[in-house]
């Protein structure tokens, strides 16, 4: 594999826009994106979902690289959102892809093949700017998967100045979004007054809704006033707003919501 005028040339003569895509598509045979099969391919390696996938791969390869055993349960919780099934499948996939070796005298984390080492170094060296300073692991995966919330917030809105603020919060182990009235006058001391909340089946779903809200941060103060008339009032308003924001001619499963984050 070597550089070419417009990207990276692989050993089969294919030119890729980046070495990451050459590895992902050309070497591992993975799909480029989440678009439908009929869509023309769009060669970009900075799709947030793809960055999340790369961060998962970096994390798993790093565990194998560091050479001492990490409990399977620990990895499952930390990287695979509590799915031991997904973890086992992923490890077996890496073995099949030739990046990891397993064996009777090898830790269950596996050991990296030479190509696994090369892939790990390449992926770490080509991490996007916003992740360079983030430690490999859960935090980076969450950040990549969270679609860099701050970047999609309304550019003209400084959320620090808003009276009402949507925040992600885990309540009793449930992934929630809450709406805070930051200028509540209740009581003798400033306090967080929560006007509205919604719980979700998991952090992933919660974060996608949060991304949708962030893209509309210019409306938060108005929505806060709506919540002042009752949490139900805001729930109904958000539902109506969300429904009206969806182009139902092109429903595309869960990924459709991600696209909405760019339509303010």
């Amino acid at each position: 594999m070597r550089t070419a005028p417009h990207g990276v040339l692989d050993e089969h003569g294919a030119i890729w826009p980046s070495i990451r895509l050459a590895f992902w598509r050309g070497r591992l045979g993975m799909r480029q994106g989440v678009a439908r099969e009929s869509d023309a391919p769009v060669f970009r390696d900075n799709e947030p979902w793809l960055e999340e996938q790369f961060e998962v791969l970096i994390a798993v390869l790093s565990v194998a690289a560091r050479g001492f055993h990490t409990a399977s349960r620990e990895l499952s919780v930390d990287i695979f959102r509590n799915s031991a099934v997904f973890q086992h499948h992923y490890r077996n996939w890496l073995v099949g892809a030739g990046l990891l070796m397993m064996g009777p005298n090898i830790s269950s984390n596996g050991v990296l093949t030479d190509e696994g080492w090369a892939a790990l170094l390449m992926l770490k060296a080509t991490r996007p700017n916003q992740l360079i300073d983030v430690e490999v692991g859960y935090g980076a995966i969450e950040l990549a998967g969270g679609r860099a919330m701050a970047e999609i917030a309304h550019p003209a809105i400084d959320t620090r100045e808003l009276a009402f603020l949507f925040e992600r919060e885990d309540i009793a182990s449930q992934a929630c979004i809450v709406l805070i009235d930051r200028k509540s006058t209740r009581g003798r001391m400033p306090m967080r007054h929560t006007l509205w909340s919604a719980s979700f089946g998991g952090k992933h779903e919660r974060d996608r809704m949060f991304a949708w809200l962030c893209a509309r941060s210019d409306r938060w103060d108005e929505w806060g006033k709506t919540a002042g008339r009752g949490a139900d009032a805001l729930s109904q308003h958000l539902l109506a707003t969300y429904i009206s924001s969806v182009d139902w001619r092109e429903p595309n499963g869960g990924e459709h919501l991600l696209a909405l984050t760019h339509v303010t």
């Binding site: 990490t70 170094l121 309540i171 001391m189 509205w196």
Partner: protein, 187 residues
């Protein structure tokens, strides 16, 4: 039935003209600490019908502290009687009647109350008022025993939320050690 040995007890209502009923021998306001959860509990009689309202308070640091009652995630299943209808800090007003309490020694003043009212269509108002639609209320009178029991249940639910939030978090640093990646690169 729960232990409601009140720390504060008040009887202030004149119930003449209400007819006979359990309300005649009941307290009009009581504040106690739920023995199972340690949460402050309270009931008080309301002047717009003589019915009872029940309350449970959470302290700063509780996951639902500062939550409007309508903002509590429905998936938590927190409810009492026919649902929570009040929330807030201690109200101003007469100590013997208002939604307020005198905290026990060493306990915070600025607790956050969640409350329910027993003035729904299914409830009887002891002062003989007519219900909103004009028909006489024929519901059940919710006694201090009932309201205290509902408070106990509500306290248990709120305590469960706090316990769930305080559960140890998943280990989050399992794969942050990347130094070996740099030192173990094959030549």
């Amino acid at each position: 039935m729960c232990d409601t040995s009140p720390r504060q007890a008040y009887t202030t209502f004149s119930k003449s003209g209400w007819g006979s009923g359990p309300w005649n021998s009941e307290l009009d306001k009581a504040v106690w600490i739920d023995p199972a959860t340690g949460l402050d509990c309270m009931y008080r009689r309301c002047s717009d019908g003589g019915y009872l309202c029940g309350y449970v308070a959470v302290e700063p640091g509780h996951p639902l502290y500062g939550f409007d009652h309508g903002a509590i995630p429905s998936s938590l299943g927190i409810t009492a009687h026919t649902g929570l209808v009040e929330s807030g800090l201690c109200a101003h007003g007469k100590e013997s009647e208002a939604m307020c309490h005198v905290p026990a020694e060493g306990r915070p003043h600025d607790v956050w109350w969640f409350g329910f009212k027993c003035d729904e269509d299914c409830d009887h108002l002891p002062d003989g008022r007519r219900q909103r639609g004009g028909a006489d209320r024929m519901g059940i009178y919710r006694s201090t025993t009932y309201v205290a029991d509902q408070c106990t249940r509500l306290a248990a639910q709120l305590d469960e939320v706090a316990r769930a939030n305080a559960a140890p978090l998943a280990i989050s640093s399992a794969v942050t050690a990347d130094a070996p990646v740099r030192t173990m690169v094959p030549a």
